[in-house]
Amino acid sequence: MKRIFALTLSALLLCTPFSACVKPAEEGGSAAQSVTLTIWHDKEDAVAAALQSELDKLQPEIRVVLEKKNGLTEALKMVGNDPKAAPDLYFFAHDKLGVYAEMGILTPITEFVDADTLAQFLPMTLSAATYKGELYQLPIYFETLLFMYNRANMREDQVPATTEQLYAYMEEVTGGGHYGFLEQHSNAYYSAGWIHGFGGELINADGVPQLNTEQTIRALEYHLRFARLMTGESEYATVNTLFKEGRAAATIGGPWLIPTVREAGIDLGLAPMPIVDETGLPLAPYSGVQGLHVLKVAAENPAKHEAIKAVLHQLCNTDIGVAMAAASGCAPAFAACYELDEVKNDEMVMMMHALAQSAVPMPNIPEMDVMWNVVGNMLVDINMRKVNVREAADKAQKQAENLIAAMK
């Protein structure tokens, strides 16, 4: 009896893993009248709520389910072409769309939205969302780094208009655990602004690294002077904590930093990016454009095609832009939003709008994936390990070329 019981249990345990192989039940509800679309995202609650609220206006014909997904980028790689597991759309930054376009899991937005409607978006956001001549994202909002200062430490007349003024200020006040200016000096995302200010770039549109060009090397040499007057550690927590504690007079940070800075009681001021004296160009940080992407498996489903079109059109107006700006200080991609008082009165959003003229969209080519680490190592070599700039740039260029070759 005991043996039979044991063998039965074993048989049942053996069957357990196969229970997942059961054919899923057909979705209930009246499919003819109502279509459900799933959107994956990784955004904060306020942003997701604003989007959900706007898309709920399409009910009852179209029901949109927003699903917060941790590890969204990796999950899409795994299931992006599986109609049973993939979402219909996803809401994410533009910089990964080249990877997904090459994988063949995306459909161009132009299949659903006409050119006249798209012309109403900021040109920078459309250019960010274009890969190999195709537009793969409907931009909703964008973010870029801002020059922030603590009014308690830096008077209005001390706010630097140029990088040399900034350097002079740093030399004057840095010391005793206090800093004139701090940034994540050895992080590729933050240092890119300095490189762009010298006319350089990390990688060109053809996917060729540009780390040892004369412009980039000049920028790195120039930036090193500033890095020497900053903290040894250059990671997010240290830099931002020092700014929030009032030990750093100014910083370059993202809009996501602002709520916690204000909570910490800092009298925050925003200013345009300083202009590089040598080139006459402003520091031009990267911008990230957040928006909706359509999965090919959903676009090819005739039952969902019109619903996707309706969802995208619902977001081609000022409502969602204004809601996003109010919810989380996001800078709308829809140009007409900036004519409305609700947006015009938001200092941070308007500053980002002004920066949109000079900000450089993060490259969306797949080759960019390997650049973050390579450039990070190069910056560490230069700013922390005192390696000769040209030597470090040459080494990084070679490593980037090897990694890009290894991608294929």
Binding site: G104, V380, M384
Partner: protein
């Protein structure tokens, strides 16, 4: 006939466990080996094909002087960690087994605490709370002593020691628990005889305790050897995390392979490197087991 039936029944009873092992251990290894023979990358994500040993040839480029340096650091890392873990765990477990020790359970619970915390959280707490040059506890102590602050994670040697300390903090609870269990299994009458013969603590430990617990702790040592050799998160999160690099240039084989292969999104190529490291690890452990058996013989 009866024997055959009994064997079949035994296999059938073990089948669920074997199936789980096959699914979570054997299948991933087999699938990685298969992918390593294909051209699966961003440009051939769903339409990949078998291309033979091309990825292995390409992978040899990663095994350059940088890899050799990482390999030496990994061996040093493994050896130092293992020695320290075994010595400290043995001492701690011995102290926990002192007769008439009060509040033994409290100490045991406290010692297990690092194990209960998620590794990621522990590592970042150490990084920001202890080693950070602006806010860290160590530099606050230095400041009180009127000494200049140090950048603990910037130099290669100091960063290696910092990583070692954090890894010991994370790994010791497991080893202490195993040692503690093993010590309790040793027959107390042996000690009584040894004490009567005039053996002190050190002699008892070397001649009696260690030989007695060796077979019990051997599996734990092998597991820890594997875990330490393929260590990634402690060194990566403390010193190499993208956007939070500290200036130290210490790499284990895995952090080196990650920076020089895994970031390429070329799964065929990365799988080939994983397989080579896997075989290397198997060879390393087999060799150390053989040496142990030789010593035993």
């Amino acid at each position: 006939m009866k024997g055959k039936r009994r064997t079949l029944s035994a296999w059938f009873s073990q089948a669920p466990v074997l199936l789980i092992i096959a699914l979570i251990v054997v299948f991933p290894i087999g699938y990685t080996a298969y992918i390593s023979l294909t051209n699966m990358n961003v440009y051939h994500w769903f339409d990949f094909q078998i291309i033979g040993l091309g990825n292995y040839l390409k992978a040899l480029a990663v095994f350059d002087s940088g890899f050799l340096g990482a390999l030496l650091i990994t061996l040093l890392w493994t050896a130092v960690n293992m020695v320290l873990q075994l010595v400290i765990a043995f001492i701690m477990a011995s102290l926990l087994n002192i007769q008439k020790l009060k509040a033994r359970r409290v100490y045991k619970t406290v010692l297990m605490f690092p194990w209960a915390m998620p590794g990621y959280v522990s590592i970042l707490l150490w990084k920001n709370g202890i080693f950070n040059s602006s806010f860290g506890l160590l530099n606050q102590w230095l400041e009180k002593l009127h000494l200049a602050p140090m950048r603990w994670l910037a130099g290669d040697v100091s960063a290696f020691i910092a990583c070692l300390v954090v890894n010991l903090w994370l790994a010791l609870p497991f080893m202490i628990m195993i040692m503690d269990g093993a010590l309790q299994s040793v027959d107390k009458s042996y000690y009584e005889n040894a004490i009567l013969d005039g053996a002190g603590w050190f002699t008892r430990s070397v001649r009696l305790t260690i030989p007695a617990i060796r077979p019990i702790i051997a599996p734990a040592v092998v597991i820890t050897l594997f875990t330490t050799f393929k260590q990634f998160d402690v060194i990566y999160l403390l010193t190499q995390q993208v956007g939070a690099k500290t200036g130290a240039n210490i790499h284990t084989v895995l952090t080196y392979a990650y920076e020089n292969a895994f970031v390429t999104n070329n799964y065929g190529y990365s799988s080939a490197i994983s397989m080579i490291i896997f075989f290397f690890l198997i060879a390393f452990v087999t060799l150390s087991n053989l040496k142990r058996k030789e010593k035993k013989a």
